[in-house]
Symmetry: C2
Amino acid sequence: MLKIQDVARHAGVSAATVSRVLNGRSTVNPELAARVHSAVRELGYRPNGVARNLRRRQTTLWAVLISDVGNPFFTSLVRGVEDGGRQFGYSVVLCNTDENRAREAEYIAVALADNMAGVIISPADDSTDISALVAAGTAVVTIDRELAETEVDAVLVDNEKGAEMATAHLLESGYRRIACITGPRRMSTAMRRLRGYQRALRAFGLPSDRSLVRHADFREEGGYSAMAALLDEGVEVDAVFAANNLMTVGAVECLTERGVAIPAQVGVIGFDDIPWARLFRPGLSTVRQPTYELGRAAAQLLADRIDNPAKPAARMVLQTELHPRESSSPRAC
Amino acid sequence: MLKIQDVARHAGVSAATVSRVLNGRSTVNPELAARVHSAVRELGYRPNGVARNLRRRQTTLWAVLISDVGNPFFTSLVRGVEDGGRQFGYSVVLCNTDENRAREAEYIAVALADNMAGVIISPADDSTDISALVAAGTAVVTIDRELAETEVDAVLVDNEKGAEMATAHLLESGYRRIACITGPRRMSTAMRRLRGYQRALRAFGLPSDRSLVRHADFREEGGYSAMAALLDEGVEVDAVFAANNLMTVGAVECLTERGVAIPAQVGVIGFDDIPWARLFRPGLSTVRQPTYELGRAAAQLLADRIDNPAKPAARMVLQTELHPRESSSPRAC
DNA sequence: GATTTCCGAGCAATCGATTTCCGAACCTGG
DNA sequence: CCAGGTTCGGAAATCGATTGCTCGGAAATC
């Protein structure tokens, strides 16, 4: 591989000058600059990024820690981060943690060892330890979820309002015995969505019935078994609000399998959009999160933070959108 | 940040010894090794990866160039690569090219500049130029698609057989006027799938009718307009084989929108699985590709190639699986 | 007991670009 | 014409780990 020295020799200047021309940090005689540029072009020189990173003590990499790209929510989010990062000259290292603390810690270690410029993380739980990153001065933005301890930039959606919208929509469509399948207690998003559900009931003058609330794991199986439990226990239910996309699918599968008609017998609405939800049988009503925009926003915040490490932590909250489809059609009374 | 010298001082040995202990390249007195290990632990030392990369002239990064993680096909594939890479100690840099040659070239340049250990690429087209990578000795594996010029490791699916299976399935179900919506002519996958379709027709003793074959762009809109064109032109059609997931969705949308009953009036089968395809209205028949395994296989091949740059290029072909669902139910005659 | 062999530790060079520092050249105003 | 200031190029230090080479000392051999 060609080195900066080779270019310098070819252009008849010093390596320092080549570097200055290429990085534009300092003024260089235009004529020399032209010579350098043509030398670079002629030789096809490409600076060694690793050497540059070592010297600058900073890379152009971002680690993006999410639970699973397979989840359409994160897929689109990652795409947003990548597009945003590319704009600012960063590449994105994809880190699937599967909500696993050990995996998370492992990736944080990699980010640290490789001197990554920043980390965007959707923490597996509220107490995920990012102190090592903070200590090393690595820029961090949390996305979708917040951290209890540390004060860092965060990009969130208004979970409570979204859940409230979904529940209110069911209520307005005539459903009254609405179950809520939410996520684990230790996750802020799960709790916020539950609270939104409860708020909608309260606003409608309905008591909240604890037997209607289930905590599952944000996964397909979780939604399935929570739904199955509701049916098996004979809990009176005429609609379900599921707090994320996978659990919605799980619940729908359970209902379909057991021959429960949607929405005739049980109405369904889910948090998070699902690709092609309108092509489902029946079309699934959802509360769409602006996932791509979430990713873009996080990228912007991270880039800003890197440029200005001293600025106070920002907290962006984006709004959700209700997409009513057939699975929550107005109930014939 | 702590340096190797600090550890060396603390353990009362030289930096070289610390390095040797940590990398196990050479034998070190067990007692010294223990001292080094405890020094590392006590100080919380973490080697600087960038410095190591510079010296070793190799990083632990892989670039994965695909058109779009948003496409479920690539989502799952990337996940496979990531899992595989992690096993061998590599991290994955996600590069969405959107089938765009310029973007592709850009990412190749980044991979080169950052000295990445390897590149897994699903080339935007048969003539994508990877010569710079080859020249630099960077390990390359193509995935899903092949390159015309360069001989590199490749992981593929048996596109022809898959398409043949899909078409044969439609024929066996009683469909006779089967349209084929395939991808652009310059893409090997598109042509292979078309050939499989033709082979099935021939095997069944049916003539191939050029008006039934459409080349679209492998995107949703492409599938939609190809379908629309077929209907608008009044071509007699009783089934469609769409050569990838997005075009299948597009075709289905077009049919649904125009009130054409699936499968009563037109049967549908698509190449590539679609998440939760069984929940669609009607359940979509598909030819599933082993996407995750494709990613894992590519990871394995790349890791092998890095360890042994001289070995002859491998070519792995995985098989597809037919998943018949309602959209291709047997035709009532 | 002397010589050879072998092992392992440390010194120093190296990877390749960036950046500080210094001095030369040039400019400007008095 | 000179002092003071400015600009700009180049030499060399630096980033932090790895590794080739050297050499001391212990073990082995005669």
